[in-house]
């Protein structure tokens, strides 16, 4: 399998550097909390629904607690303490939220016996949420056993993005029938900057459909139907990203989503979300994903839409190594790491296809047990849809030749519109042709020893190690501030959502994290 003749010592060194660069960020994440982490805890504990304006009760409750006692203790203790004081059973947390919103409950940080009692009830309530997630995971395992996994690798991953869950559903089912193994429902623009998760079924997204618990449920049910029909378990993907990353992860676990876009830096770079906020949220959400058996998809592909795919190829490698470290630290197994990369080299560059093969193989050989997520060309797609379909075909071929795990199907209309029904059909036909006609070509693909492809891969690895050395010296936060990734400069003290971050007080208590880390 090893086609690149990589130096194992260099590979080890790269991993070690990533660990050293990442550890301070983990320490940061372990010592901070965010409003969304706390809301996720309450969701696990059973708070559901939203007020008449559509603001979820978890938001109202957390806001009420923060108003009175701040965020730094975590909300579990104040909330369960208040619950006890109000004489409400653990199942009535939502009622408590309603009362809190009406201003009729007071919060404080309990101590002593009250604290011990609150802690116990809180653990039990969030534990029930985690058990619900465990049940969904077991259910997934059963369904996979019953219906089976896709016959081929890579898995074929398709997006739907109409903005209307009721248009999305038939389109997703049609795509599954035409061969999609994974359906991703793209989110509306703007959702990631909402500091709450919308409620209910939705029909009004822009260039994507709102991620809501109800939409998750509707789509998962529709795809369960398709799985039954097709005798193949069709996976569902959404985004644990943006200001509500931990809650999205939780809802995904509760509604048996199968994969989630979840990157350690995407929100920082592409949504201008505060770095600390992101790293804290990210760690919690990954712990939940680990528990839920969800495969994460990281976002290195995005860097190549703003930075050049040849010049900055090594930044993708560096980020993959960091994502891997953060993921392992949060408890994810290798099979859950859909590390991202992409076919984004300018097609006018001489030997661009061989360069793509070199980069794709490098990722493959650095992360042999991870189901890499291989993203199609987007940046160099144009309104010339005929050329676009051709480029997508070569993308598919590179994916097949280098053993990628998850193939995100490219659309010929990438530069024009969010995908039409017919675009998806044409794109799947493209994938089917390439996998059918050349699926075995990897057997005959042997990069010439010391040749173009091996040289390129080794060069990118060397550049990655050099960059990691610099990051390890300067700190990762500094590197991000300087525009190392995707040439986006994001200082640690700027960006959205910083107000929702707090350093743990000594008595900080989070029953979910405790349970997640105990397991």
């Amino acid at each position: 399998m090893a086609k690149l003749d990589l130096d194992p010592a260099l590979v080890s060194r790269a991993r070690e550097l990533a660990r050293r660069a990442g550890q301070p960020v983990v320490d940061l994440a372990r010592s901070h909390t965010t409003v969304s982490v706390e809301r996720a805890v309450l969701r696990l504990a059973g708070v559901t629904g939203a007020d008449p304006d559509g603001i979820p009760w978890v938001n109202r409750l957390v806001d009420a607690v923060v108003d009175e006692v701040g965020l730094e203790h975590g909300v579990a203790l104040p909330v369960f303490d208040a619950l006890a004081r109000e004489g409400l059973p653990a199942g009535d947390l939502t009622l408590l939220a309603q009362k809190a919103a009406a201003g009729s409950v007071r919060f404080g940080v309990p101590t002593g016996k009250a604290a011990t009692a609150a802690r116990k009830v809180a653990s039990k309530a969030t534990g029930a949420g985690l058990k619900a997630i465990d049940r969904r995971r077991a259910e997934r395992d059963r369904l996979i056993k019953r219906f089976g996994d896709p016959k081929q690798r890579p898995w074929i991953y398709l997006i739907v993005a109409t903005g209307d869950i009721y248009e999305d559903i038939p389109q997703a089912q049609a795509a599954a029938r035409a061969g999609a193994d994974v359906i991703a429902v793209i989110r509306s623009t703007g959702q990631s900057l909402l500091d709450y998760v919308p409620e209910g079924p939705t029909r009004e997204g822009f260039a994507g459909t709102y991620a809501t618990q109800e939409n998750f449920r509707l789509m998962r049910a529709a795809l369960d139907e398709s799985s039954r029909e097709l005798k193949r378990y069709v996976r569902l993907t959404n985004y644990a990203s943006g200001l509500c990353m931990p809650e999205m992860a939780t809802l995904a676990g509760l509604e048996r989503l199968d994969m989630m876009l979840n990157d350690s830096m995407y929100g920082i770079l592409f949504r201008d979300i505060n770095p600390i906020r992101t790293f804290v949220d990210q760690r919690f959400s990954r712990q939940v994903h680990a528990r839920a058996g969800i495969i994460i998809n990281t976002g290195e592909d995005n860097y190549l839409t703003t930075a050049d795919a040849v010049d900055e190829a090594h930044t993708v490698t560096v980020s993959q190594l960091l994502n891997e470290f953060f993921a392992h630290e949060a408890g994810l197994a290798n099979w859950q790491l859909g590390l991202g990369h992409a076919f984004e080299i300018n097609p006018e560059v001489p030997e661009s296809f061989r360069l793509e093969l070199a980069h794709a193989l490098l990722a493959r050989e650095l992360f042999p047990d991870a189901p890499l997520k291989w993203m199609p060309p987007t940046k160099h797609m144009t309104g010339d849809v005929f050329r676009g379909n051709l480029l997508d075909g070569f993308f598919n071929l590179a994916g097949a030749m280098t053993g990628q795990g998850i193939l995100l199907v490219g659309m010929m209309t990438e530069a024009v519109v969010t995908p039409w029904l017919s675009d998806r059909d044409i794109a799947l036909q493209n994938v089917r042709y390439v996998l059918g006609a050349a699926g075995g070509l990897h057997e005959d693909f042997v990069p010439a020893p010391g040749g173009f492809i091996q040289q390129r891969a080794n060069l990118v690895l060397a550049e990655a190690v050099r960059l990691l050395e610099k990051i390890e010296g300067d700190t990762l936060l500094q590197a991000i501030a300087e525009g190392t990734f995707g040439i986006m400069k994001r200082p640690a003290d700027r960006g959205k959502g910083l107000a929702g971050v707090a350093k743990h007080a000594d008595d900080y208590f989070n029953p979910a994290t405790e349970l997640l880390e105990a397991s």
Partner: protein, 243 residues
């Protein structure tokens, strides 16, 4: 359900279509405007010009996406629906034997300068197509396949010689409407050579015919893309054999 539908991009009723064409003008802003003018005349509004590329000196290729305002009324669609029952080879043979008491004579050819015989061979040769055997396989049909580049006079003579009940003509080349010219010439020749009651059934086929043009071209029936031998045999029985 309503009979009125509109093109579908990704939402019911959005009316979205894709269009491409070349204009014989160099690429500049005016050319792009000209392309949008054409899209507008075709009923696209709004029209997005998403690609323009000059070719050579004085031509530009355009790709346009957008909404068309036309409604499609499916109740007004005119199609040549199959108006005869689809029979098995066995049934065809039995009906011919009973109804005609002799073999039904079929003469086939690819006329004019057209040399594409794969289509007519698919209908006539035993080998057939799409898992169906061709007409030669039918015991009660007598098939004479004249092959390619047959002139109209040769065809008429062969039809007379073979006492053809039906003449099957294939036309694949369509540039400059070659298929239409040749078909008209053929039907006129049969009209001239034979009185109406002696004239064989005239059938043409090929991938680019409009099946509703039979009357206009002076033939009895047109078969298009994806025709199978069984359909043709069933049609011949329907037209030529008294039940």
């Amino acid at each position: 359900m309503s009979d009125i539908v509109r093109p579908y991009g990704d939402t019911t009723g959005d009316g979205m279509v894709q269009l491409s064409f070349t204009l014989p003008i160099a690429h500049d802003k005016r050319a792009e405007g000209a392309a949008l003018q054409l899209a507008g005349k075709m009923g696209m509004d709004p029209a997005m010009l998403v690609h323009a590329k000059q070719m050579g000196d004085g031509f530009t290729f355009f790709v346009v996406y957008g909404r068309v305002n036309h409604l499609v009324d499916t109740s007004k669609v005119e199609v040549v629906e199959r108006d005869f029952p689809l029979l098995s080879a066995k049934e065809v043979n039995a009906l011919v034997k009973r109804g005609l008491r002799r073999k039904l004579s079929v003469v086939g050819a690819c006329i004019g300068t057209d040399a594409h015989t794969v289509g007519i061979d698919a209908i006539l040769n035993v080998k057939g197509i799409a898992g169906e055997k061709g007409l030669e396989y039918y015991r009660e049909l007598k098939v004479t396949n004249l092959g390619a580049q047959v002139t109209v006079p040769e065809l008429v003579a062969a039809a007379q010689r073979e006492r053809a009940d039906a003449v099957l003509v294939s036309q694949v080349v369509t540039q400059r409407d070659a298929h239409l010219h040749n078909t008209r010439e053929m039907s006129a020749a049969f009209r001239e050579a034979l009185p109406a009651d002696k004239r064989p059934l005239l059938v043409v086929g090929g991938p680019r015919f409009d099946e509703s043009m039979a009357g206009e071209l002076g033939v009895d029936r047109i078969f298009g893309r994806g025709t199978t031998p069984g359909e043709v045999a069933s049609y011949l029985v329907h037209e030529l054999v008294q039940p």
